[in-house]
Symmetry: C2
Subunit: 346 residues, 2 copies
């Protein structure tokens, strides 16, 4: 009788993202339309199904592409050559099949969150989430998100076996908008730390920070290891009047943080102090959707490959520059080739 | 008692297109994938649902955009400033809602084809049609189309009141793949001629011509007024060995014909003989999907505005150049502005 094959642990993944799976529905639009449907330019608003339908009706011809903040990030990691996974909850419908196809086709291991037996989802929570993305002339995006079944994520449904395969867990701040997800994320975070992994958090959106400042401050002061935020978000988190004051506040936490500033590049905060990294050049900004997500992709991939924070931020900036040069938040160019061209072969 | 309001006829439309409403599912791909799934490069193949799923599974991350040959054309007419309508059959599902939203948002009057009372659609004919578009490196597109409910179009379901509002009826040759549509198209064609309108036909695809050569020859020799074809299609229609011989055959029909030749531009056949029109310049060909459809849009819009065939062909070439410079078969740039820049203010 042949001996039992040796038990092999599943291959570790570089980055596991957790977030709301969304299909983006994008259309170029005008300030007039934003005003008419009552959306604040540049923001992300959570909307119910009726409001989503109302906004959709006001949009011009659309393009549909898989999106979702953390999902975009792990797709970017995979495009750079990393091993990535994604955990999120989709519905049994057309948009769910589109999302599942696209993330697997991008080379990301997808771990769907299971339904909790006997769960009573609220009536609104049907269907895969979608994000209406209204892109105005200068490439700025305004988003209205209907989360659908993503709101029914529970600690019990989480595929923890996949989560702990990741050397780095990446959480989107948007998850704190889903009450049961908060407990699920705490469980995931503890499990990853128990497995000697690291945890990164993005603050996602300044309105999101306003809604969950207390939770995010708790995480920043013990819970996460890496922090992503843009200028507005980090100022909001620490309720400081200026970016410089926010940077000082970040320094006091001792976290590794990457703070993005659009065309002004990024500031990386390390134990040795803050370092400014210029943005990568872009011919024409078409659509800023996903800029932060892809910055995080490059930064995290750099870290997992042993690059320093500054070089990782350069790689993040390069990925962000690619994503804003076209419509949609998933990479279209070969990110590995771009990184190699720029001498960033981490 | 106030008098009855005067009866007003509905405002005439410039072009009404009839065709299969499709949502395009596009992905960049490689020759290897085409070979693996058994698709002939550059062709359009009709596939059943199982084969569509098989091909979809082999595709990379996709982008979804409304498409459909005649639908693309009328969207182009509307983008140029024309009044356009579209007639086709969608299902009561996500893709149907996407198609209906997008065509209305493009400013086209959509007349859905009704179900025939008591019709027994075949089991395959469920759901809105979709077209898998595999784009290879040089921008060439290979298509696998699952027509879904578009195959259940019937003469009785046709909104003839909308059809006869058009000064010009535009039919896609693909419709002849749907047996009940053949009779429906004959009815639409007669109704439009009774209302002093004109009828244009595109041959759609060389394999389509092979399948329906007899029908198409009948239409060309009495039935349609304007003919669109590319080089392969017109050679196939007349079973000639060369393009020049095919042009001579077209001349004998007395039709107005626009024959497209890709980068070589087009040849317009008029009662005064054939005229060559150069292609409009394109920086980089990204995706040729919709090139013929948008050529037809410019040509037809020119005709309805009283432009001569040669100027109309120039406008067609300009629209085709826009569509092949990006992914997808619906215009992204302002076609009216492009036409004005090129001095083609018809």
């Amino acid at each position: 009788m042949p001996p039992d094959p040796p038990e092999t642990a599943p291959e570790p993944l570089d980055v596991i993202g957790v977030g709301s799976p969304l299909v983006d529905i994008l259309a170029p639009t005008t300030d007039d339309v934003l005003e008419r449907v009552g959306l604040e330019k540049g923001s992300m608003e959570l909307v119910d199904l009726a409001r989503a339908e109302h906004i959709y009706a006001a949009m011009g011809p659309t393009t549909e592409m898989s999106g979702g903040s953390a999902a975009n990030t792990v797709v970017g990691v995979a495009a750079l050559g990393g091993r990535a996974g994604f955990v999120g909850k989709v519905g049994d419908d057309t948009l769910g099949r589109v999302f599942s196809h696209d993330i697997a086709a991008a080379g990301v291991v997808f771990g769907p969150v299971a339904d909790r037996a006997g769960s009573t989802a609220d009536a609104e929570a049907t269907g895969t989430g979608r994000c209406l993305v209204l892109v105005t002339g200068e490439g700025e995006r305004t988003m209205a998100t209907h989360l659908g079944v993503a709101t029914t994520i529970t600690p019990e449904g989480l595929p923890l076996d996949l989560v702990v395969q990741g050397r780095l867990l990446y959480l989107e701040g948007y998850l704190w908008d889903l009450p049961p997800a908060k407990e699920a994320m705490r469980r995931a975070l503890d499990a990853v730390h128990d497995h000697d992994g690291s945890v990164a958090l993005t603050l996602s959106d300044s309105f999101c920070v306003e809604r969950h400042r207390r939770d995010f401050l708790d995480l920043v002061n013990g819970g996460v290891d890496v922090l992503f935020a843009n200028e507005e978000e980090i100022i909001s988190l620490f309720s400081t009047g200026s970016f410089d004051a926010a940077v000082s506040a970040v320094e006091e936490t001792g976290l590794l943080a990457a703070l993005t500033r659009g065309a002004k590049g990024s500031v990386v905060v390390t134990p040795n102090g803050p370092v400014s990294v210029p943005a990568a050049p872009v011919d024409r900004v078409v659509d800023t959707t996903g800029a932060g997500d892809l910055f995080a992709a490059g930064f995290l991939f750099g870290l997992t490959r042993g690059a320093g924070p500054e070089e990782s931020a350069r790689l993040g900036g390069l990925c962000a520059a690619e994503i804003i040069s076209h419509l949609g938040a998933r990479p279209q160019a070969d990110l590995r080739a771009l990184a190699a061209e720029a001498g960033l072969t981490v």
